[in-house]
Structure formats: structure tokens, C-alpha cells
């Protein structure tokens, strides 16, 4: 297992885990969020092929428009 940081919280993931795996675990739909890995926004079409490394800092930022 590797350890990554997701929205400030440590999380264990299998070494072959992708962004798609993570957001699926978190029950977040890809079209309602933006994902940053180590400060860089990852394009949605790379979610299945972008694998994590130990220590990666992930931010899952939700779209919201309420006011």
C-alpha cells in the first residue's frame, strides 16, 4: 500500500490506484469535481491512467454555485 494525502487527510491506497479509483471510492462523480495532484490540475480524460505515487497530495475540489 502507498500513502497519499486527500484533501488534507492521509489515505492508504494500493500502489496501482488511479484517480478514477479514488473518486469512485469517495463516491464523487468526475463531472462534478476538479482533481489536483501536487498542485496541478489533471484533465478528466487522464483519470483512469493517472496512478498515484507515495506522498502525492490530492485535492478534490467540488463545483458549487449556491449563493
Amino acid at each position: 500500500m502507498i500513502e497519499i494525502v486527500v484533501n488534507g487527510n492521509n489515505r492508504q491506497m494500493p500502489p496501482d490506484a488511479s484517480i478514477a479509483n479514488l473518486i469512485s471510492q469517495l463516491k464523487v462523480k468526475p463531472q462534478v469535481c476538479v482533481v489536483e495532484v501536487n498542485g496541478k490540475i489533471v484533465s478528466r480524460d487522464e483519470y483512469c491512467t493517472r496512478y498515484f505515487k507515495h506522498g502525492d497530495q490530492i485535492e478534490i475540489i467540488r463545483f458549487m454555485a449556491g449563493g
Binding site: M64, A65, G66
Partner: protein, 241 residues
Amino acid sequence: MQRYSRQIILPEIGEKGQEKLLNAKVLVVGLGGLGSPVAVYLAGAGVGTLGLLDSDAVELSNLNRQVIFSTEDIGKKKAAAAAQRLKRLNPDIKINEYVLRLGQDNIRGIISDYDIVVDCSDNFPTRYLANDACVLAKKPLVHGAIYQFEGQVTVIKPGQGPCYRCLFAEPPPPGSIPSCQEAGALGAIAGIIGMIQATEAIKLILGVGQPLIGKLLVFNALEMSFRKVDIPQNKKCSVCA
């Protein structure tokens, strides 16, 4: 000046800062849960000209969070009811009412009269429109949004950092994000986010502190956490690049 004495004491404000506030012109887009505290605190601080923009009328279901209104305002246009309340709070400031929806046809003319725009709207088309128009007009934009128990704030200062589209390049598919009407909204959450927006607008006017330029402040009320996330500037951004 006695009205502002408690903030004039602050070394970061003083009489010079108060003059800046009195000379400032701020447009509040949307008078809902966010726009209510934004307008009240900016009026209280003595922001000299406030534009209040909303096409809607006050409804009973607004009153859990839209603290600028009272039960007797139900049915009145929000811009007019809010203006009435703010004139009682601070008769020294100028208030411009706009009972309309922002669109491609009117936004440039309206924002040209203001120094800062505060986005308190409740829908994606208005948020993208406000971002794009402010970037093109080089107007600072204080963005705030809420969803259930969460909120976000950022400051877009054209030429000095990323814009809304650098983070959220395109709107989500229609219907994929429920509105407050569908998903619910707790009044205090709107209050917290709105007050942070008002604080950021005041900091921009005064030129003090570090505004949330290039940072997204993410608030989660259930965890009671605030986190600052870096927003990278998109060198290929369709609006600000």
C-alpha cells in the same frame, strides 16, 4: 466619522483607510444567502457606493439565510428591500438598485461603474459571465459559493493571478449539481462565506493583508475546517491567458 470609530482605531485602516472605503464602489451580484451579509457588512463599514443586483422577489423560504430581509419584505423585489434596509443602517452611503439578471448585453456597462465585484449569485452561467467580464474589464472579483455544509471563496485579480476558469475551465453538465433549492442550505454557512467575501472586498479596497488571489479557501462546516488550496494559473486559459 464616529460611526466608523471602532475600525478607524485599527492601524491598518485609520482615517486614510476609511476615506478609501467611503470612496469605494462595490457591486454585489445576487442578494441571497451570500449577498445578504456581504451587503450589510460593506454598508456598515462605510463602502461609499454599493450596487445591489438581483431580479428576484423575497420569498418565505429565503428567510432562513437571507438575513437582510424580514417577513414583511416577502413579495418585494430584493434589490429594493435590501436598499431600504441598508439606508436605515447607514444613510451616508449611496445605493444603486438593479432589478435585473446579468447578461452579455448589460454586464460590461454595469461593472464599469464599480471598483470591485462580489459574486454572490446562485448559478453557473452568472458565475462564468461575471468571471469573464471582470477579467476583460480588469476588475477584481470576490467569488464565493456554498453547497450544503461547504463553501468556497477566492479572489480573482486580473493580471495578478488565475481566474475562475483556470480552476473550473467549463461549467459542469446542466443538472449535475443541485441548486440550494434542491440540495438545501443552512443559513449560517452562507453567513460565514458571505462575511469572508466582505472581508476580502474590504482588504482589496484598503490594500492590506494577503487576499485569496490564487488560493481557494474551502470551508467544511461538518469537520469545521478551513483549507487553502492553490489554484494554478492555466497558461492556456480561454479567458485570462
